[in-house]
Point group: C2
Chain length 209, copies 2
Amino acid sequence: MAAGTTPGVRRRKPSKGDLTSQAILDTAEKLLAERDLTAITIDDLASGAGIKRSAFYFHFESREAVLYLLAERVLSQLYDAATLWTERTEGSPDDAVRRSIAGNVAVWRANGPVLRAAVRARDTDENMRQFWADVARRFITAVADRIDADRAAGLAVPGPPSAKSLATVLVSMNDEVFYHHSRTRRSPAADREVVDTLTTVWLRSIYAR
Amino acid sequence: MAAGTTPGVRRRKPSKGDLTSQAILDTAEKLLAERDLTAITIDDLASGAGIKRSAFYFHFESREAVLYLLAERVLSQLYDAATLWTERTEGSPDDAVRRSIAGNVAVWRANGPVLRAAVRARDTDENMRQFWADVARRFITAVADRIDADRAAGLAVPGPPSAKSLATVLVSMNDEVFYHHSRTRRSPAADREVVDTLTTVWLRSIYAR
DNA sequence: TTGATTCCGGACACAGTGTCGACCAGAATC
DNA sequence: GATTCTGGTCGACACTGTGTCCGGAATCAA
């Protein structure tokens, strides 16, 4: 997206510092496509942005901070995709679930390296841990609410298992499958099969379809 | 298990080196219970075993090599648990699936730190990657075979999705759930709920139960 | 133009890794 | 009992990467 195109918003032209910060972000995204975050040194990031290593610390306090910014942007897209189902107001669940899952697969395809790095950083970085815990919580409660609503409406089979518990394992399944699938060679056929399979499991588990 | 108790097997008494190797293994297992593998230095392992850092390299070539040995032992237990279902010969699937899942939860409970570290090391260590790819492949084909057999017998609902694809997502779900669940505070009630929920999803997905 | 920020680089101290050769104790051999 | 041999250990070294501190250059606002 080009800068300054949003109508009615006057923004100062990016300062030199903004430019290098962005250059660092770009370098990080590029390098993440080829290797793990832990295998990327501060110097890789700095020299990729045309500055010395010590100057990096003026812009970010760690590699993880860079990743954090990168990940935040992608995450809103994930929410949007999920919302297709959790906030559905009409129509059968089937298509909504499928579209929501397909949307997630698309986002993972487009941003695999960043998302995978962010997931892995969970294990070493406390902020990232919190970040994902939050994400998971939001997803799970949204799904659980949806299940409860559909159970109340007689659409979904009643518990046990509790909506929360069911939501937890289904969301976990998706996360893991998306993660691994995003590492495989691009293939529309494979994408379709993954979406089909996950959709089937969701529908059978929630609606006994 | 105490050494030298197996009847009829004469084994040389452990040499000094065997003892230190074992001490390193023990130290690693102990430390993994409190922090990540990457946060454990070679010196931590060495001094925990009562030797200097440089002597560590006589026994192992890396931290990962230590973990590798630790993980291999635990893995056979995982296989045993899974076998309860995949090689079932009689009776209804329900109990077999449940027992198999419960067995896995138990193994993860008992060896969480080692298993989690081994999973995480997948991202940085090529051997570990291969190791888990192998494990996953074996699990998935075993499950897929079972599904195919039950479909042929008219017990399971026919595809699509293909048995392999279905097996992949279900095994992924279990892995992810086991991983996270093993980090939570021990609780028989929570264990039961996880087992129940996973069992439900498996049975509904495969048998439309 | 000047003064204040903003941004950058050189230098330092430090932590961890991996390797090398010297060495030492105890078992095996003469 | 003296010897060799081998398994195991250690100290020292070179190297990579991190984080900080401070002086100074570039940039921007007035």
